[in-house]
């Protein structure tokens, strides 16, 4: 049901530009839509991050998988439970670059007996890592359409990507990897009943959308070829704020462009915001230094206290008469 809804939305996002671009109005599909999408992305992303930045995080949350730093003879794990800023940088780097928390993914199974068995399960980690890095390389590769002359690192990246020289135009390894990885991540949600139960339309839709973007890109490379020089003129026109729409680029390009625009515009309202959110996870980005520093809640109300010293000052005569021990025999004269 939730999957069907995502599929329906995706179908609409493909049919609309396919029909629209064939009816004409290329400036709308090639200029207005991408600019609107980019504007929504920039404003939405910024406001969402600023909203998060305004939320106070007064305390350290030592949710961790390692021993915190305490006594010298207790072994401390500085990366899993860092007590310093540098350690936090290390933990964040491992999380952002290598998805360390997915590496800890476990699988629960009920075996004969009945016996509950927990086991390591690295497939989610491997699929996510393959998908994210393939997507990053594909995104960076597209700089050949954005910048003239083409940056040297794009040429190098593309040569490496087509290293195996399979087919013509040569197969780009990341294209194969991203399709395989997204398919796996999608099937994982669909085929495992327990994961399907906790999956929402907002889980399926981004995967389907990115799969469709990759698919239209591959279709353009091999089957519905488009005028690539025209594409580069259009892209560079957009980015240099002097938009142009060259004639006869090909409908498949406008479908690809519309899907990418949809992804960009959808980004700030979706789970894709984990791009920013991963850096703002309080359980990951705060050093566990609760034992070394006292963290005071800044908005605690001022509590009116009455110290023993003041108490003794107030009742000294009565206490002396009752022969109670006193800290000071005489009331201290107020500091003059």
């Amino acid at each position: 049901m939730k999957f069907g809804f995502s599929l329906l939305i995706l179908a609409l996002l493909i049919v609309i530009p396919a029909l629209g671009a064939s009816l004409g109005g290329a400036p709308f599909w090639g200029i207005v839509i991408p600019y609107c999408a980019l504007l929504i992305f920039l404003v939405g992303f910024t406001s969402r991050v600023l909203k998060w930045a305004k939320l106070p995080v007064p305390f350290r949350i030592p949710t961790s998988t390692g021993q915190q730093k305490s006594l010298d003879w207790i072994q401390h794990s500085p990366l899993d439970n860092p007590s310093t800023g540098l350690g936090v940088v290390g933990r964040m780097a491992l999380e952002v670059l290598l998805f360390r928390s997915l590496f800890r993914n476990t699988k629960v199974e009920l075996k004969e007996g009945p016996k509950l068995v927990y086991g390591s399960s690295k497939w989610l980690w491997a699929g996510a890592l393959a998908f994210h890095y393939a997507f990053l390389i594909i995104f960076l590769r597209h700089f050949k359409y954005f910048v003239e002359p083409t940056p040297f690192w794009v040429v190098g990246m593309q040569n490496l990507d087509s290293f195996f020289q399979v087919g013509l135009p040569m197969l780009l390894a990341t294209d194969a990897v991203i399709v395989a990885a997204i398919s796996f991540l999608l099937l994982r949600r669909l085929l495992d009943a327990r994961i399907r139960y906790i999956s929402n339309a907002s889980d399926y839709f981004p995967l389907l959308l990115i799969l469709a973007i990759a698919a239209t890109g591959i279709l353009m490379r091999y089957f519905f070829k488009v005028d690539l020089v025209g594409v580069k003129k259009l892209a560079m026109g957009l980015f240099s704020l002097k938009p142009v729409v060259p004639e006869g680029i090909g409908a498949m390009f406008y479908i690809h462009m519309f899907l990418v625009s949809s992804l960009i515009a959808y980004f700030p309202f979706s789970k894709l915001m984990h791009l920013a959110g991963v850096f703002l996870s309080p359980t990951r980005n705060l050093a566990n230094n609760n034992r070394m520093r006292r963290h005071l809640n800044p908005w605690n109300p001022q509590v009116k206290v009455h110290t023993y010293e003041e108490y003794e000052d107030e009742f000294r005569d009565v206490m002396k008469a009752a022969e109670l021990p006193l800290d000071k025999e005489k009331q201290c004269p107020k500091a003059s």
Binding site: L42, A53, F146, T150, V155, L228, M236
Partner: protein, 139 residues
């Protein structure tokens, strides 16, 4: 404002600057306009039409050259018959580049703009560019 507000805003600014790389690299630099390839050929009598219409050549020339390569190298088959019954020798240097003599203007403009790095020139030698009036001899 919370303690880390300024740091988060700094990170956000760095991210936005990175995302907008294509915008500021294009805005603050004079970008040479993209040039279309120069299709102009030497007008050799009887060879005034390409093997395929230019619209088709634009998107399928790599596949055609690949077929020619396989046909010549693997099957020793050098004759290419077009749909309208003309015959050509399957050769990059002696057929294609006999008309489209200038590799820099004909091949490289698009290939460079799109980071395409074809391995034709691993084996082939590009013909010397000669003015059209200098005769038909091509190395």
């Amino acid at each position: 404002m919370p303690r880390d507000f300024n740091r988060i805003v700094l990170g956000l600014a760095v991210f936005l600057a990175l995302v907008l790389t294509p915008v500021w690299t294009n805005l603050f630099r004079s970008v040479p306009p993209l040039q279309d390839p120069e299709i102009a050929t030497r007008n050799i009598p009887g060879k005034d039409k390409c093997v395929l219409p230019s619209v088709e050549m634009k998107v399928t020339h790599m596949n055609l050259l690949n077929q020619w390569r396989d046909s010549v190298v693997r099957n020793d088959q050098r004759d290419y018959a077009t749909a309208d019954g003309r015959h050509f020798d399957m050769s990059l240097s002696r057929t294609c580049m006999n008309c489209h003599t200038d590799k820099a203007k004909f091949c490289d403009r698009c290939h460079n703009a799109l980071a395409v790095n074809p391995y034709c020139w691993d084996c082939h030698v590009e013909p010397l560019v000669q003015p059209a009036s200098m005769g038909t001899e091509v190395r």
